[in-house]
């Protein structure tokens, strides 16, 4: 395959020399907004910086270098999984005391709904004695690596706005997502793949679609790239039918040659960026098929994840996520849908919840173990959670479920500078409100950025008259979470 790689590399080198030697374009002409407030830190080789995804130094030494976010879309029930409340069991069936629901709005239930205890069994696990339900045997097996946050709070109680809120720090659609902020802040270490990749499993896409991983007002180079399951993970990755590798290489060579001649004629650095973009596109074409081919993984690894090559699943996506971060991708977000357990035939707290947990618990735990075994867990931040939790009150439909709950729910984090083997925060005796170590969504975001070496107050972008940031006007780093 020498015929395709060599000329491109040569060409690239020549183009860069050419750019400076003959075009007479000074460094000063390369218009680049300073990404970070500290000018000195941003002053890296401008030619590299022309690539919007080139790696950049963060504000301070990071503990994590990359993120895998396991987004449980729909809002898993913390009361069935993490947050055991004897008092709730005792009062199950009684109308919720009115002081809990005064001035509250719910998506579906009313203020006079009845409390609902759980039927799930809880036990303590690991050295740390984390209390988990029997739905999470996988998580129980890695309890000492995980920090469980039982005091999450969010602002919005409808799926779309709440998902956007957890991803962008604003319930308004159209703001940059955290993956976009992160790659905007520190670029990506992968030269062959996008810096921010989104994977999807479950019966349908997450509510909200594109805006969940959009770049908002940031340049589109930072938007998440959805990976499709199937042989072509990225749109338009394959050569057109009838165009073999040699023909594709010849095609690219001709384009690059003509582009570099134009660069010489007009001296516009954008052409140089485009030449780089075509090179990276070509590398993506070469590397992605190998990347998504899980058949080279050992039988033991496949078994640990429960992954089956060629059969799309959350397990496959977890394994794929490991392969992506191994290749330097900065932010991988996995969506698994259908956690919205309101109580219909297919959304009650019985079998449907069993199924969601079976699909996700083992693979998530396998991901932690696998990252750890490969020495990647130390600087890979893993986050698990949904856009909100579920009410202590039951929601009777065909069967029983729970409504959306924003005032206290659970997420967990591991790796990447997180202090494992601990639980943070607590809700009241009904599991309704947070009473200890409240962690607002903005606090989680601030903490995640902090672990990645970014000050959430400084990672800003000017738009519509003001400096915007991921954490809007809030956010404080939760130091308890950090090792």
């Amino acid at each position: 395959m020498a015929d395709r790689k060599q000329p491109l590399n040569e060409l690239h080198a020549r183009t860069r020399r050419h750019f400076f030697a003959e075009c007479g374009v000074g460094l000063g002409s390369i218009a680049l907004a300073s990404l970070l407030n500290d000018e000195a830190e941003a002053a890296i080789d401008p030619l590299v910086l022309q690539d919007p995804l080139a790696p950049r130094r963060p504000h301070f030494a990071p503990k994590a270098k990359r993120v895998i976010f396991l987004f449980m879309a729909g809002g898993p029930s913390q009361l069935e999984l993490f947050d055991y409340k004897p008092k709730l069991q005792e009062l199950s069936g009684q109308v919720v005391p009115s002081e809990f629901t005064k001035n509250k709005r719910f998506a579906f239930i009313k203020g006079d709904a009845k409390l609902l205890g759980t039927t799930r069994k809880f036990a303590r696990h690991g050295q740390c004695g984390a209390e988990l339900s029997d739905l999470l045997p996988g998580l129980a097996s890695v309890a000492d690596d995980v920090c469980i946050v039982r005091s999450m709070v969010t602002d919005v109680f409808n799926h779309g706005p709440a998902k956007v809120f957890l991803n962008t720090g604003s319930s308004r659609f159209g703001m940059p997502s955290m993956g976009a902020w992160l790659t905007y802040g520190i670029g990506s270490e992968s030269r062959d793949l996008p810096g921010f990749i989104v994977l999807q499993s479950g019966p349908r896409g997450p509510r909200g679609g594109n805006p969940l991983w959009g770049s908002g007002f940031l340049p589109t180079a930072y938007q998440g790239v959805p990976f499709l399951s199937g042989p072509e993970p990225i749109l338009n990755l394959s050569n057109p039918p009838g165009v073999d590798r040699t023909r594709q290489a010849e095609f690219l060579n001709t384009v690059q040659q003509l582009n570099s001649e134009r660069l010489a004629a007009v001296g516009d650095p954008e052409i140089s960026t485009r030449i780089s973009a075509y090179e990276m596109a070509y590398r993506m074409q070469t590397s992605a098929p190998e990347l998504i081919d899980l058949s080279g993984e050992s039988a033991a690894t496949l078994a640990m994840y429960g992954a089956e090559p060629g059969k799309p699943s959350f397990a496959n996506n977890c394994l794929l996520a490991r392969r992506l971060v191994e290749r330097g991708v900065r932010f991988v977000q996995l969506y698994h849908t259908d956690w919205d357990h309101h109580g219909n035939h297919d959304t009650h707290l019985g079998e449907p919840l069993d199924a969601r947990c079976k699909e996700t618990d083992g693979p998530a735990a396998a991901l932690i173990k696998d990252l750890k075994a490969r020495g990647l867990l130390d600087d890979t931040l893993v986050v698990w959670g949904g856009e909100f939790g579920r009410t202590p009150m039951g929601e009777p439909r065909d069967l029983i479920g729970r409504d959306h709950h924003v005032d206290g729910y659970t997420m967990w984090l591991a790796g990447g500078g997180i202090k494992g083997g601990q639980s943070i925060g607590a809700t009241d005796e009904l599991g309704y409100y947070v009473v200890e170590d409240r962690v607002h969504v903005h606090d989680l975001q601030a903490t995640m950025l902090h672990l990645l070496g970014l000050d959430h107050l400084k990672l800003t972008y000017r738009f519509q008259g003001r400096q915007f940031r991921l954490t809007d006007v809030g956010g404080k780093v939760v130091t308890k979470m950090i090792a």
């Binding site: 007479g24 218009a31 799926h159 996008p194 007009v266 954008e270 960026t273």
Partner: protein, 838 residues
């Protein structure tokens, strides 16, 4: 207002003070100036006085004190204990924070005086002077200055007054403008800028060979008269209008509002003056004798999103839509970030939170219906059907009038029938028994029953009734097939508007009336209450300092990559100052005096010397003016998403030039909807709709057409006044491999080969010119020919590859030739120069 237990508790703890009120009720009346004002001045005026009005509350004047703050009245005359002022001073409650916030407290004596003053009616003398309206020194709030073009020395460069402004500045900096671009570049530039399409080779040749002095102006006038002008500039306005064909949020269902899109295109093509363009979009429904087109225009503010998710509060998202209307109006017309004042006073600009809700009130009075827009055919059919139905009903009336006689005859015959024959009619038992009773003795119900039975078998009635049924079905069908479009319609009864405390619609504060920020010129309403029409007319008043400036700046930005004000949607204090303030004002003034004609403004800009400069980089400018603020050269700009696809379609000869109509579904890659909540409808077009211009592509907000999305098409969530121009590997993959784009290359090759007399060299040159307007240089031509040769050799040797690339049967005689030229076309369509306006 009921007193909460908590406040009652407060009363008890303050019983001593209260007792004193009772006891001293006969004391001399409290005098505001002597007793009250000093207390307020000592404790309150710092934050609620002339210099600062925290929470919108100003206590030093009688008129503003009566108005209260954003949260509502602070003082309720006669009710001291309910007055938030007193609640705050006594320690606050869950709604009212403790005051003063520094921890100091008022003495019991002071509180007592305030209590007595309020309980006695809170009387105070009128203010000596009227409150002056809010002033600002900020440049954009000042009236347009009357400027005349400056004197310059380099006169040969000056083509119109724009140039003197730019040149004067360059001369002051000791810089020279760039020479004029060559003709091929110029015609490609101006054709792309005015129509979003590249010029044809014939158009280029005509211009290259035109000896007239005004050859360029002839081109410009031709382009401004082209219907494609409306498509290109209409699309840009649709960005501002956040136009899309779906509801947004999570469900993102389909909506029908393409009539608005077509209205915009048509408005540009007939050069509807921008002031009228504005009025019709904001308030077309309120114009006297509003036409259906003027109503369609109000779709501008129906491009807000609708949340269809289960369990949402409709009022919450209606409020979001109204907020968006205010923000969009601010960005689109005024260059103001009004949204910043939603939750608190604007931090930088003189816009208070109360004023935000006054603007909110302007847009809060509308209903949001769908308007049926019948075609001419439907407009004729419906009244015709209506008339026919009416006529038939009249005839039916006549037939029914003498139905009694026929019924009696039938009943007689029925009675005469044998029992067996009667049974054969199988009437219901109650009918049979009623028929058995003589007509004169039947009950009313029985009479009606029999009449109903007979109506169904009356031979005179049946054909008439059936024809009426069928006419009604036709009418229903026509009605159903009528396209609807979303519009605004003013309600008969206004909704009350309140300040939303901290931006939360569940916390209504002070009531507000529709109005405009005090820092801008005053608005005169037609009636008792300002409505959208008053507001729209105010916006385009010749004396409004913002609308014309913002509009000319946004148009300028399209031609030079950045506006004279670089922050095109923020003319406030946080925005950038104009690089050429006199030019901006001169353009704005010229725009207004020219009757707000956008075409005239476009013509003025594109015929200027500044616009016609070369865009080549100049090393000496890199240091002196790295961002090209001084405009010593033109800039290379990557084409907008639609223009890239449209240009490829035009160059290849495949473009369908049909204007308007419902959204279309060109081919897109598989798997797009695995990442949306619902699979969207996408009935891929089989005919020329595959090759319509990009702005007609159906736009789902949650999943825009991937080709366009990759090239930065906005997702229409909020108003977009400037698109980013990214440069990414995904763009490279799209141009290289997207099957729809390869299909264009293939069609391109077929069209090239349809001219059989051309040799390779001439054909390659032709293709190059069709793609880039200019002729290839020798070097470029050789590269292309060498490439062609290598591809031809391969495809001749590999007929199966050739068949696939050429999309021909493998036996087709010219498959290898089509395949080789497809590869050449593919190269040309992937060049940076092709997707760039130079």
């Amino acid at each position: 207002m009921p007193i909460s237990p908590r406040i009652l508790g407060l009363f008890v703890s303050l019983s001593l003070a209260l007792l004193r009120i009772e006891i001293h009720a006969d004391e001399p009346a409290v005098d505001f100036d002597r007793d009250v004002k000093p207390i307020l001045a000592a404790h309150c005026f710092d934050c609620h006085g002339a210099d600062s009005q925290e929470s919108g509350l100003r206590l030093d004047r009688t008129d503003t004190r009566a108005l209260g703050g954003n949260g509502g009245a602070a003082i309720l005359p006669g009710k001291s204990s309910d007055s938030p002022l007193l609640i705050a001073i006594r320690g606050g409650n869950e709604r009212v924070p403790k005051m003063p916030p520094d921890g100091s407290t008022l003495s019991a004596e002071e509180i007592n005086l305030l209590v007595r003053w309020i309980d006695a009616g809170a009387v105070a003398p009128a203010d000596a002077e009227q409150l002056a309206s809010r002033q600002s020194d900020h440049w954009s709030f000042q009236p347009l200055s009357a400027v005349s073009p400056p004197q310059v020395s380099n006169l040969e460069y000056v083509r119109n007054p724009i140039d003197t402004f730019v040149l004067a500045r360059l001369e002051a900096e000791g810089l020279n403008p760039s020479k004029e671009a060559d003709r091929a570049t110029l015609i490609r530039r101006v054709t792309l800028d005015l129509t979003g399409l590249p010029p044809t080779v014939a158009e280029v040749d005509a211009y290259l060979n035109d000896p007239h002095e005004d050859a360029y102006e002839i081109v410009v006038d031709r382009l401004l008269a082209s219907p494609h002008y409306g498509e290109r500039w209409g699309r840009q306005w649709l960005d501002v209008a956040r136009y899309a064909d779906s509801n947004g949020y999570t469900i993102d269902g389909a909506r029908s509002i393409w009539k608005y899109r077509d209205w915009v295109i048509e408005a540009f093509n007939r050069d509807l003056p921008f002031d009228q363009f504005t009025i019709e979009q904001l308030a077309g429904d309120l114009l006297p004798g509003a036409t259906i087109e003027q109503k369609i225009a109000t779709g501008f503010h129906r491009n807000t999103m609708v949340n269809e998710e289960g369990g949402t509060d409709p009022e919450q998202f209606r409020v979001e839509a109204v907020v968006d209307r205010v923000s969009t109006t601010g960005a689109a017309f005024m260059g103001l970030t009004l949204g910043c004042a939603r939750c608190h006073d604007h931090k930088f600009d003189p816009i208070s939170q109360r004023e935000f809700y006054q603007l909110f009130a302007v847009f809060n009075g509308a209903d949001e219906p769908a308007l049926p827009v019948p075609t001419r055919q439907q407009s004729k059919e419906l009244p015709a059907l209506e008339a026919e139905i009416k006529q038939s009903l009249e005839r039916l009336g006549m037939v029914d009038a003498n139905l009694g006689t026929r019924q009696a005859e039938w009943e007689a015959a029925y009675a005469a029938n044998s029992e067996q024959d009667r049974a054969a009619l199988s009437f219901a038992p109650e009918v049979t028994s009623a028929l058995a009773i003589p007509a004169g003795q039947r009950s009313t119900e029985q009479l009606e029953l029999i009449r109903g039975v007979y109506q169904k078998i009356d031979p005179e009635r049946i054909p008439l009734a059936e024809s009426i049924e069928s006419l009604k079905r036709q009418q229903e069908q026509v009605k159903k097939s009528i396209t609807t479009t979303l519009v605004m319609r003013e309600r008969k009864e206004h909704r009350e508007t309140f300040v939303h405390v901290r931006g939360d619609f569940l916390q209504p504060g002070a009531p507000v009336k529709p109005g405009v920020p005090a820092v801008l010129p005053p608005l005169t309403a037609r009636g008792t209450q300002t409505d959208r029409l008053d507001f729209a007319r105010w916006l385009v008043d010749d004396e409004h300092p913002l609308t014309a400036r913002v509009t000319v700046n946004r148009i300028w930005q399209t031609y030079f990559g950045q506006g004279l004000v670089a922050t095109e949607n923020d003319f406030g204090q946080q925005g950038e100052a104009p690089s050429h303030p006199e030019l901006l004002d001169w353009l704005a003034r010229t725009f207004i005096t020219g009757g707000w004609s956008q075409k005239a403004l476009h013509r003025l800009i594109v015929t200027s010397g500044v616009y016609r400069q070369s865009s080549h980089a100049r090393p000496e400018l890199a240091g002196a003016d790295p961002y090209n603020k001084l405009l010593a050269r033109q800039v290379r700009l990557r084409l907008e998403a639609e223009a890239i696809r449209d240009s490829a379609l035009a160059a290849s000869g495949l473009l369908s030039r049909e204007l308007g109509g419902p959204g279309v579904y060109p081919p897109q890659p598989e798997g797009i909807y695995r990442f949306t909540q619902q699979v969207k409808f996408w009935g891929t077009a089989k005919d020329s709709d595959r090759f319509r211009r990009g702005l007609y592509t159906y736009l789902w907000r949650s999943s825009p057409y991937p080709f366009l999305k990759t090239f930065d098409v906005p997702d229409a969530v909020v108003s977009c006044t400037r698109r980013p121009r990214s440069n990414t590997p995904l763009q490279a993959l799209t141009l290289a491999n997207d099957l729809a784009f390869v299909e264009i290359a293939q069609g391109y090759a077929s069209n090239l080969l349809a001219q059989p007399t051309l040799g390779d060299r001439a054909r390659a040159e032709q293709a190059f010119r069709q793609t880039l307007a200019r002729k290839p240089n020798a070097h470029e031509l050789i590269r292309l020919l060498e490439y062609l040769e290598s591809q031809r050799a391969h495809f001749v040797a590999s007929p199966e590859d050739a068949a696939q690339v050429a999309q021909r049967d493998s036996g087709a005689p010219n498959a290898a030739e089509v395949a080789a030229w497809t590869m050449v076309a593919r190269v040309l369509l992937n060049l940076d120069e092709f997707i760039t306006r130079e």
